[in-house]
């Protein structure tokens, strides 16, 4: 059977989509509550850290380019170690589902259908994601390419709609909270990059051009970072950091405030239309990576039978998180940060160190695959 492959462009698009939806809204609210007008500096710091995390992950996978981080773990320390790493990654994506469902549900429910039951949104996300997953990663990759176009359109529209009310004084003074607090606040955005890097750790072997992995990964982060950083700059300059920090989903406040002329205002609907592909890509890819983790954990030949159970577990957890606003924000700002950062940095680092120790094993596998 021929292996499924995605192009490097699709890989880049998946990275951008994977980070965008949550980073512009919920994340910015969390950062604004900590460092106010420095939120864009914090986001910038985070993009640099995200780039480093991505390069580390790519470097690790390139040690044995035919296997993802799960396969590589198995290769290095045997079956059981591989299963432990699979379980940890599965837990990571369960945790990620809490964050991505919070993004998806609160954008739709709080701003459009406040009276609709939460379960409707969770079921909608579940059905679309499972449907996409049965069509395979290539279809998802193509969808992500359209998602990048949507993100670009949304960014252009939000710039046009808010530039008139932009007050650069709100961005001053720089580093008003200091460099270290800004760096510390960047952990919120780092969790978004963590989702992208862990996704890369799972899907990289499917990306066609191995030689340009680094370039694609870094470019994906740079473009994703550029698309994201526009939002904290505008949110600070138009809404002010105090207002952005008041809200759970600060990007929707930004959309509510944008207008071009008299008849083109209230961007919420436009925002949802353009950002939904990114939000759905986040859900789909967390389901996909969780299914691949289950596949490795149980030792199945294909990830497809694992799609449904994995999606059900992730949706169940996501539903539990979003049912209570306080719980959701508390989870995203505390537990999820610890979980995401420790796994997204810890696992690639561990595999990297093990790769140095057991170089021979990796060389053997590399030569066997060639």
């Amino acid at each position: 059977m021929q292996k499924v492959r995605i192009s490097n462009g699709m890989f880049m698009a998946l990275i951008i989509n994977m980070v965008y939806a949550k980073a512009i809204g919920l994340t910015q609210g969390s950062i604004a509550r900590e460092v106010g007008g420095d939120m864009w500096i914090s986001t910038f710091f985070s993009s640099i850290q995200g780039c480093l995390m991505m390069l580390l992950t790519i470097y690790v996978i390139r040690q044995s380019p035919e296997s993802n981080i799960l396969g590589q773990s198995e290769l290095l320390l045997g079956k059981w170690f591989g299963k432990i790493i699979s379980l940890i990654l599965f837990l990571f994506f369960v945790g990620a589902a809490g964050a991505v469902y919070t993004t998806f549900v609160y954008h739709l429910k709080d701003y459009f259908l406040p009276e609709a039951p939460t379960i409707i949104f969770v079921i909608a996300g579940f059905i679309i994601a499972v449907f996409a997953l049965y069509h395979g990663i290539e279809v998802i990759g193509r969808m992500a390419l359209i998602g990048v176009f949507s993100i670009l359109m949304l960014n252009i529209l939000i710039i046009f709609g808010s530039i008139r009310d932009f007050d650069i004084r709100e961005l001053m003074p720089l580093f008003q909270y200091g460099v270290l607090p800004d760096l510390w606040a960047s952990r919120h955005n780092n969790t978004d990059w963590a989702m992208a890097t862990m996704m890369a750790a799972v899907i990289l072997p499917m990306v066609k051009e191995k030689n340009t992995w680094k370039r694609s990964g870094a470019l994906g982060i740079v473009l994703g970072g550029a698309f994201v950083i526009i939002w904290p700059i505008l949110e600070t300059g138009v809404l002010t950091a105090e207002v952005a920090g008041q809200y759970i989903v600060s990007c929707m406040q930004m959309a509510r405030s944008a207008q071009i002329g008299l008849f083109f205002h209230r961007y919420e609907m436009i925002m949802i239309a353009f950002f939904s592909l990114s939000a759905l890509t986040q859900i789909i890819m967390t389901f996909f990576c969780a299914a691949v983790s289950i596949q490795n954990l149980i030792g199945m030949k294909s990830h497809k039978p694992a799609i449904l159970p994995a999606s059900l577990i992730l949706s169940g957890f996501g539903y539990w998180v979003v049912l209570d606003h306080h719980r959701a924000i508390d989870y995203i700002e505390t537990y999820w940060v610890t979980l995401a950062m420790s796994i997204a940095i810890g696992i690639p680092l561990m595999v990297l160190v093990l790769g140095f120790i057991f170089r021979k094993k990796l060389k053997q596998s590399k030569s066997a695959s060639m």
Binding site: I120, I127, P173, T240
Partner: protein, 403 residues
């Protein structure tokens, strides 16, 4: 075949759950579209009165408002009271046949008596509500807010729309700041800046076309300066002529005007339109105390002269320029004095300007800003140049020699 069946089932499921048929739907016919809302004190202590001006779309058609819904009235105003705004709105539904819908609301008008007691819950309610636009205008009024939102003003059929347009064209009239709910929220949340809101009032100035003799026979809403807050409480008001000095501190300036004395004949007036106005507040930190220099530059365009005036007469031009500078300086100094001594409210955003330039020093003083603000030194520097006389080159004077 099986794949097609699966797709059909999926589409059916998606149609059911995504169309909004089950829950959360709102039919247009079931909605009462609020165009303006007025907030007054209730009939007894602790109560708040909410007046909503609701459009009757069938009677508000067309620019003339020619009735087609057979009621002849393009709006329906309804009031209800409650202990909170939310309760008052819920009480509205006891007699409103449709559900109150805020998404099209254009303005929130708050009565000054209520504003003096505090508007925290008003800011909270209207910024918490997902239906409202963040660009909704907010104003205070000395009159009953219920009356202001129900008064048809100008050419518009729906009063809310008329008030919206008053604000849209304030850059020309320069009579009130263009305050929106987002600005109010931002200044209320700010650690240094105090809120300022536009002020509206009712005046008898309408002229009936049918009875032109009864001039001023019916009320119209007009922009009437600004209301200044300290925290969430209204502490004073600014007159329209004072507002033109406030605006440069808050918004990008469009145009303005000054009425000056003719250099040769002080009884006659000369009107100068202010263009290319440049405004800057420069903070400094002297003797452990903040200080500010307000710098204002403008070009003047003579738009009306009741006396002979030409740019070729340099002495006259210089005299006009000096008067412009003095006039603006006086205006700014008076405003700053009022803000510092009388109102003790930093609605001019001086604290913010200082914070931007001196963040370290600001950290030292920000907790005492309220006591420091009235004592800070503020210098005003103005510069004016008269550069054109619009279309005319020569003076407008009678051709007869004796005249």
């Amino acid at each position: 075949m099986a794949a097609k069946f699966k797709i059909c089932v999926l589409v059916c499921v998606l149609i059911l759950i995504l169309s909004g048929c089950k829950t959360g739907k709102r039919e247009l016919n079931d909605l009462a579209l609020v165009m303006a809302v007025g907030l007054d004190k209730g009939s007894s202590e602790g109560l708040i009165k909410v007046t909503t001006q609701i459009a009757r779309p069938s009677d508000a058609r067309g620019q003339t408002g020619a009735p087609s819904g057979q009621t002849g009235d393009p709006i329906w105003s309804a009031s209800a009271e409650g202990e909170t705004i939310f309760q008052a709105i819920r009480n509205l539904s006891t007699f409103s046949s449709r559900r109150v819908f805020w998404a099209h609301n254009l303005i929130i008008v708050i009565n000054e008596k209520l504003a003096k007691e505090g508007i925290r819950e008003i800011i909270d309610f209207f910024t918490r509500n997902p239906e409202l636009r963040m660009r909704t205008w907010v104003a205070v009024t000395p009159n009953k807010a219920s009356e202001v939102v129900s008064t048809v003003t100008g050419l518009e059929v729906v009063p809310g729309e008329a008030l919206d347009k008053l604000f849209r064209y304030t850059p020309i009239s320069v009579q009130a700041p263009r305050t929106q709910i987002l600005d109010l929220q931002a200044s209320y949340l700010s650690e240094s800046t105090e809120p300022i809101l536009a002020r509206l009032r009712l005046v008898n100035r309408g002229v009936s076309n049918k009875k032109p003799g009864q001039e001023g026979g019916y009320k119209q809403v007009e922009l009437a300066g600004a209301g200044v807050f300290k925290g969430d409480k209204l502490v004073g008001t600014l007159k329209p002529f004072e507002v033109r000095s406030v605006l440069p501190f808050l918004e990008a300036m469009d145009t303005g005007m000054l009425i000056l004395h003719c250099p040769d004949d002080k009884q006659k007036k000369i009107t100068v339109e202010l263009r290319n106005q440049k405004f800057k507040v420069i903070p400094s930190f002297k003797n452990n105390k903040p200080a500010f220099t307000v710098s204002y530059q403008t070009d003047g365009s003579v738009v009306e002269a009741a006396c002979p005036f030409s740019l070729e007469e340099r002495a006259k031009v210089d005299a006009i320029e000096r008067e412009m500078e003095q006039e603006k300086k006086k205006e700014f100094e008076k405003l700053v004095r009022r803000a510092q001594k009388e109102l003790n409210s930093d609605f001019l955003e001086l604290g913010k300007v200082f914070h931007n330039r001196y963040p370290v020093e600001w950290r030292r003083i920000h907790s005492q800003w309220e006591t420091i603000f009235p004592t800070v030194e503020i210098k005003v520097k103005t510069m004016a140049k008269v550069k054109d006389t619009v279309l005319l080159k020569n003076q407008t004077k009678s051709g007869r020699i004796n005249k």
